[in-house]
Amino acid sequence: MAPVSSPAQPLPADARGSRRQIDRNSDLLPRGSSEPRPSEPAVLTPADRTTLYRFLVLMRTIEERGVTLYKQGQLPGSFYDGRGQEAISVGAAFALGPDDVISSPLIRDLGAHLVRGTDITEIFRQYLGRQNTLNQGREGNMHFGDHQKGVIAPVSMLPDMMVVALGLAMAFRMRGEQRVALSFFGEGATSPGAWHEAMNWAGLRREPVIYVCENNQLAYSTPSSRQFAVRPSERAKGYGVASELVDGNDVEAVHAAVHTARERALNGGGATLIEAETMRMNGHGSHDDASYVDPELRAYWEARDPLDRYAQVVAELGVDLDAIRTTVKAEVDAAAETALATPLPDPATAATGVFCEGEPVELGPGDAPWSRFAGRAGGPVQAGEANDQGGLRTEEATR
C-alpha cells in the first residue's frame, strides 16, 4: 500500500461551516434512533444449530446435483455454485427476520434462498430452464428470487443490487419500519462505481442496510490482489459504514455478524459491511476448470470446509448427521426428478409481461427459521419448523 501522509495543515473546526452551519442532515436521521430497542445476543439453540447444518447440507447437495446435471448436458448455459461458501449465505439469511428483504442473493448464495423457504423443485426447474414460478424460464441459472419470500432476483451487472437494497432500506426507514435490507456480493464487485455510490449514500444517510461481501479470493480468474489495494472491510471506514471481517467458513460467525449488523440498523446505527473471507472451491461456473488456482491455496481452504467444520459442532449435540444427509438427499433427488419431468416454458408466454398492467404485487415475508423469530411478526414460524415447502423440518433430523 502506498504511504498515507497525515494531514499537513488541518484547518480550525469553524472553517468547515458546511458541517456546522448549513448542515441539514439531521433531517434525515433514522426514525429508529428515537426509540432505542434493546439489543439481543445471537443465541442459537441446539435446534437452530441443527437447522443451520441442514441448510448447509441442502445447499451442497443441490449444487452437487446441479453440477452433475451440467455434466450430463441437461442444463442450458453454464452452472454456477457456491461450494466452499455455503456458510455465508446460510448464516447471513438465518439472522434475518421475516419482513427483511434480500436484494439480492448472487450466484454463490443459494443458501439464502433456502433459508427464506424457496421451493427446491422450483429451484431445479429454473436451473433446467423449465417452466417455473421463480423466473418463468426467462432468466439464467441463479438469476431468480422468490419475492413472496422477500427475495429479489439479481441482475448480472455487479453490484447493482446493492443500490436497490439501499432504496429498500430507505423506504423502511422513511416508514419507520423495523426492517433491514441485505445485499450479497463478491470482492470483485467492490470495483464498479455502483459499489461506491451505494456505500457513500448508505453511510451518509445511515440507512438500515447490510452489505455482505464474500471475499472468495477470486473474481473469475482475477485474484483479489488485482482488484484492490485495500480490503473492503478496511475501505468501509472511508464511508462511515460500520464493518467487520469474519471467517466466512464459520456459519455461526457469519450469523453473529449479520445479527449484530441488523441490531445496529434497527437501532438507528446505520449500515454495516461484513467481509466474509472464504474461497471459491469450484470454477467460476461449471465450464471453468479453474486450473489457474494454486493447488496449495485450494488445499488450505479444503481443510477448512464449512460443512466439515460445522458437522463437528452439530455432532457434539448428539444429532445424527447421516440421517440429515440421507433425508436431504432424498428430497433433492425427488425435486430434481420432478423438475426434469417439467416441460420447457410455453413459447406463447415469451413476450408477455414486459410492462405491469395491473396493481404491483407486494413483497411477501420470508421464512425466518431462527428460534428468535418464533411467534414474532412473521407469524407462525417456529424454530425448527421453518420451511414447509422446502421440506426443511428439522424435527425429522433431530428426531
Binding site: M157, G167, L168, C356, L363
Partner: protein, 324 residues
C-alpha cells in the same frame, strides 16, 4: 367544466408534483439540490417546505444511486419521483435504468412504479452536455415508458399519469419550454393518457413531432393555409400511439417527421419506419425526416441555430413535400 389556471410549463410540473404528493403519501421526490433550494430549475420550489425532508430529499451527486435507490423504494411500495439535474447526466445512471428498472417486471413479476424526471433539450446555449435529448436510448430499452409533453396541461397531466403508472417512466421535460410556454392547466389531480394528440388539424400533410419540436412545427404550420398542415404531438414515445400516426398519415398522404434529437436511430426513425411499413400504400410522397444532425449540440448561438430544426427549415421541407 374543469377549473383551470394559467401556468408556465414549469409551474405545471411543480403543480403536478404537489398534487400527486398530496393525494398519495407514498409519493416522494429525490434528486440533487431539489430540497430547500428547489432544484436547478426550481421545479420543486416550495415542496420541501410543504412536505419536509423525507419526501423531498437532497441526494449526493450519484445518478446511478438516484435511479437504483428509486427502484428499491418502488419495490418496497413507495412511489419515487427522481430528478436528474440535466437529462444529459442520465448516462451516469444508464445501467440502473435499462438493466435494473426496465427489465424488472419481465424478469421477476415485480413492478417498479417510479418516475425519472429528465430536463432535456436545447435551444438556449446549453452546449453539448446540457442540451441532450436521450429519449431514443430509452425507447430501445424494453420495459421503460417514455413520455415527452409539449404543453403545460400535458406536462402536469402526464406527470401525474406517470406517477400513477406501475412502471418506470422516463419523463422528458423540455428545458426550453419551462418558462417560454404558458397555458391553461386543469386544477387538481389532472391526468392525461399516454397517447398522441392532434395539435393542429390539417388535410394535406402531417408533421409528427413531440416536445419542443411541436412548437417549431406549429410555427411552420402557421405559414400555410389553415387546415392544410396537421401537427401530431406524439406526447408519448413508449407506448407509441401507432394508430394516431397511421390515421393522420392515411388522411394526409404526406408526412414530415421531426426530431430535436440526433438523427440516427432517433424516435423519428422508428416513426418513419412504422409509416413506411404500415401506411405505404397511402403515401403520395417519401417519408421525410428533419432532425438534428449527428453532432453534439454546440454552444454558440450561430452554431446551435444551424444544427437544430427551425421553423424555416421545417417550412422548406413541407414546401418540398407538398410539391412532390
Amino acid at each position: 367544466m374543469t377549473a383551470t389556471t394559467t401556468m408556465t410549463y414549469l409551474q405545471a410540473i411543480t403543480d403536478g408534483l404537489g398534487e400527486a404528493m398530496r393525494a398519495d403519501d407514498r409519493v416522494f421526490l429525490l434528486g440533487e439540490d431539489i430540497g430547500a433550494f428547489g432544484g436547478a430549475f426550481k421545479a420543486t420550489l416550495g415542496l420541501y417546505e410543504e412536505f419536509g425532508p423525507d419526501r423531498v430529499q437532497d441526494t449526493p451527486i450519484a445518478e446511478a444511486a438516484i435511479v437504483g435507490s428509486s427502484v428499491g423504494a418502488a419495490l418496497a411500495g413507495l412511489r419515487p419521483v427522481a430528478e436528474v439535474q440535466f437529462a444529459d447526466f442520465v448516462s451516469c445512471g444508464f445501467d440502473q435504468l435499462v438493466n435494473v428498472a426496465g427489465k424488472m417486471h419481465y424478469r421477476t413479476g415485480l413492478a417498479v412504479p417510479m418516475v425519472l424526471r429528465l430536463p432535456s433539450g436545447g435551444g438556449f446555449g446549453g452546449g453539448p452536455f446540457h442540451s441532450q435529448n436521450p429519449e431514443a436510448w430509452f425507447m430501445h430499452a424494453p420495459g421503460l415508458k417514455v413520455v415527452a409533453p409539449s404543453t403545460p396541461a400535458d406536462a402536469k397531466g402526464m406527470l401525474i399519469s406517470a406517477i400513477l403508472d406501475p412502471n418506470p417512466v422516463c419523463f422528458l421535460e423540455h428545458k426550453n419550454l419551462y418558462r417560454r410556454i404558458k397555458g391553461e392547466v386543469p386544477t387538481g389531480l389532472h391526468t392525461e393518457p399516454f397517447t398522441a394528440r392532434v395539435a393542429c388539424e390539417g388535410a394535406e400533410l402531417t408533421i409528427v413531432a413531440y416536445g419542443q419540436m411541436v412548437h417549431t412545427a406549429l410555427a411552420a404550420a402557421e405559414r400555410f393555409e389553415p387546415g392544410q398542415i396537421e401537427v401530431l404531438d406524439l406526447r408519448s414515445l413508449v407506448p407509441l400511439d401507432e394508430d394516431a400516426i397511421l390515421d393522420s398519415v392515411r388522411k394526409t398522404s404526406r408526412v414530415l417527421v421531426l426530431d430535436e434529437a440526433n438523427e440516427t436511430c432517433a424516435a423519428g426513425a422508428q416513426v418513419a419506419a412504422l409509416i413506411a411499413d404500415r401506411a405505404f400504400s397511402d403515401l403520395d410522397a417519401p417519408v421525410r425526416r428533419l432532425a438534428t444532425a449527428d453532432v453534439p449540440l454546440p454552444f454558440s448561438p450561430t452554431l446551435e441555430e444551424q444544427i437544430l430544426p427551425t421553423p424555416d427549415r421545417v417550412t422548406e421541407a413541407v414546401r418540398e413535400l407538398l410539391a412532390y
